[in-house]
């Protein structure tokens, strides 16, 4: 089976400029710096990482909402990084996005009906008024909204309902790929579960391929078949969720998993090893392995030679010269490890 999306050596550097009239380039924020992975049809790929690790930039590059500095994104075997005009539009129809903030991602001046129906207009699928209304109301029903609310405005809906509107809009054109960027992080716990269940049901129903971006590791675990962990613009570990959560090999994956607060006080007081310091600036990332400044296992090699993603016997691929052992995973207190 060939991959739906192939990402190869994707790089995005945002220039840092100085001066107002004569702008001089003084550096670059290396938001995404050489990322490669495949997305198989029908799977859910999770991308996790902390603020500024490049996960949202990666999503926007796949959608071509941003132009990559270098590298390639193929969709169904076709390189989309050079596409223009109607060809690009045709590909975009196959990929849709759900955004984090259900408040700012809906136009407050438009009715729900026209928000959800807009993709039809954009892609020249303008149907007659009645047909369009029927299509939109069907979508509203699919995502659990009351179709009678067709003429209401976004402010009349709660956060969870607004996120459903965003999902309906994304599904309007029956895309193959759905990219969800932190779709539930603005929602309350009880509402979050409603939207997660909806996404999982829709994925099964429509056979969607999903890229699920989140900082909440429990949510990603629940939603995703495979998970990629990013740190400062690079993938440090990628693999099946069970393998990655059960036996993380990259020390950063281990640190993330041990930092998750678990809703079970019997874990209280359990030994944990915390990372010290903060994530370094992506404008000036550490040399070689970018994690070496915070890594408890770092040695000299880590600051001189960059580790590449390598196959681990535990089922994931990790970019580390000195991957974690079973004992170490126990020592740092990874709660998901079996």
């Amino acid at each position: 089976m060939s991959a739906l999306v192939e990402v190869r050596d994707l790089v995005k550097h945002f220039p840092i400029t100085k001066g107002i009239v004569f702008q001089k380039r003084v550096g670059a924020v290396q938001a995404v710096d050489g990322v490669s992975f495949d997305i198989e049809p029908g799977e859910t790929l999770g991308i996790v990482g902390e603020t500024g690790c490049g996960k949202s930039t990666t999503a926007r590059l796949i959608m071509r909402l941003l132009e990559p500095t270098s590298g390639r994104v193929s969709f169904e075997g076709e390189d989309i990084t050079q596409l223009k005009g109607s060809r690009l539009k045709a590909v975009r129809r196959e990929m849709q996005m759900i955004f984090q903030d259900p408040y700012s991602s809906l136009n407050p001046r438009k009715t729900i009906g026209s928000i959800i129906g807009e993709p039809f207009a954009i892609h020249g699928l303008e149907k007659g008024e009645g047909e369009r209304k029927r299509a939109v109301q069907e979508l509203m029903e699919t995502v659990g909204l009351n179709p009678e609310h067709y003429n209401r405005y976004p402010h009349e809906f709660s956060g969870g309902q607004r996120q459903r509107i965003g999902v309906a809009r994304a599904l309007a054109l029956k895309p193959k790929l759905l990219i969800a960027d932190e779709p539930v992080s603005a929602l309350d716990v009880s509402i979050q579960a409603q939207v997660l269940n909806l996404l999982r049901d829709l994925q099964r129903e429509f056979g969607l391929t999903v890229v699920f971006i989140a900082h909440d590791l429990s949510v990603v675990r629940h939603m995703c078949d495979r998970v990629a962990v990013m740190y400062l613009g690079k993938i440090v570990e990628i693999g099946p969720g069970d393998a990655l959560y059960g036996f993380p090999r990259h020390p950063y994956t281990g640190a993330l998993l041990s930092a998750v607060p678990v809703a079970d006080p019997s874990h209280h007081g359990q030994e944990r090893r915390l990372l010290s310091g903060d994530v370094p600036s992506p404008a000036n990332p550490p040399s070689a392995c970018r994690f070496h400044t915070r890594c408890p296992k770092a040695q000299e090699l880590c600051s001189t030679r960059e580790p590449l993603l390598e196959e681990m016997d535990s089922g994931t691929r990790a970019a580390c010269h000195f991957p974690l052992t079973r004992e170490e995973v126990g020592e740092i207190g990874v709660r998901s490890a079996g």
């Binding site: 309902q161 979050q192 579960a193 269940n197 629940h222 998993l257 079970d264 019997s266 903060d278 709660r335």
Partner: protein, 359 residues
């Protein structure tokens, strides 16, 4: 322990805001207490009144025209009855607060050190040099590297985690007996969150202060709290020790929260069971039990009868406001815990299920 006078005792606290749309019953008769050196977690969703209750403790809702009734006894003194002037000597001194968003809680124009010094001199009679030395000491205490240099930096030069550390340093300036932390880690990344939680735990051990932590995150309270109060629509619906709350929760809303959480471990095939519907408006609250429109187990009379927060049989410190019978609740939770959905659980408890128990 029960004989000791609690550090803070809140009695039937009510906070209302009169707005054009009607009266917002933000906090609707909550009572709780906290002993010295202990940690109370207040959990709830947005709009449950948890932040308003905390802000009112420090008189910070007075400027919003809040109508406050009930008593907030801090070391026996009723804070509700204090004048603004008297309250100012308590606030930041005996009781300090840490806010969710450190970027907007720190003043961007002033150096971090200057803001810390201000907190010190507001309550202590010390020289400028002494206050500055204290500021450096405080930054060191909360784990800011090179505090003597960082004290002269501006908030924008600090990372998110460091700003939250600076906020905590400021709160600790006068060695408060009670620290109120309102979503202290919500804006932070998970590794930084773990650092801040560990810091709060260490400081509590070293300084012996009591902590009230307000959060929507059940994981965070499980890490930090000794006792937990769950709030819904302005009321405490369940309160008990952290162990019991996660082991034997009694309120259907608490069950809903626990079953909505995706797990880090175990099977991902087990579906999440969300709570249906949305939290109610605090202006037009549902009649009877405020949770009844979202409760899968509610009965017709639950729309009329307002449940009181009452001890669970045999456990005076475990209180719940629910109209279901205690024994039935126990069986329902066993079913839910075994992975059944609310409907399956109802069917499983069978003939003496709620529909019969009613008549």
């Amino acid at each position: 322990m029960s004989t000791a006078e609690p550090l803070l005792r809140v009695e039937d606290l009510r906070v209302e805001f009169h707005t054009e749309d009607g009266v917002v019953h933000a906090v609707d008769g909550i009572s709780y207490e906290i002993q010295r050196g202990r940690t109370l977690g207040i959990v709830g969703e947005s709009g449950s009144g948890k932040s308003v209750a905390a802000l009112t403790t420090l008189g910070l809702t007075r400027a919003q025209g809040a109508h406050v009734s009930g008593r907030i006894l801090f070391e026996g003194r009723d804070l509700v009855a204090l004048s603004d002037e008297e309250l100012r000597s308590v606030r930041g001194n005996d009781i300090a607060m840490v806010f969710q968003d450190p970027l907007s809680a720190l003043h961007p124009f002033f150096k971090v050190g200057a803001q810390l010094i201000e907190a010190v001199v507001a309550h202590q009679d010390v020289s400028k040099a002494q206050a500055r030395a204290r500021a450096v000491e405080l930054l060191g205490l909360v784990g800011i590297p090179d505090p003597a240099r960082r004290v002269d930096e501006f908030p924008h030069e600090f990372s998110g985690g460091m700003r939250q550390r600076a906020m905590i340093a400021m709160a600790l300036a006068n060695e408060p007996k009670l620290l109120i932390a309102d979503e202290p880690t919500t804006a932070l990344d998970v590794t930084v969150q773990a650092q801040i939680l560990a810091l709060m735990e260490r400081l509590q051990r070293e300084l012996g202060m009591a902590i009230v932590i307000i959060t929507h995150d059940l994981g965070v309270v499980a890490e930090l709290a000794d006792d937990i109060a769950v709030m819904y629509a302005g009321r405490i619906v369940e309160t008990t020790s952290a162990e019991l709350l996660f082991d034997r929760p009694e309120h259907p809303y608490t069950w809903g929260l626990l079953k909505s959480l995706p797990k880090l471990e175990g099977s991902r095939e087990e579906p999440l069971v969300p709570i249906s519907g949305t939290p109610p408006s605090l202006i037009n609250r549902p009649t009877g039990c405020h949770f009844h429109p979202r409760c899968p187990y509610s009965q017709p009379e639950h729309t009329r009868i307002d449940p009181k927060l009452e001890p669970v049989l045999g456990e005076p410190r475990h209180q719940v406001a629910c109209l279901l019978e205690s024994e039935l609740r126990g069986r329902l939770w066993q079913e839910l815990r075994a992975g059944r959905t609310p409907l399956e659980a109802l069917a499983a408890v069978g003939p003496d299920g709620p529909s019969e128990a009613v008549s």
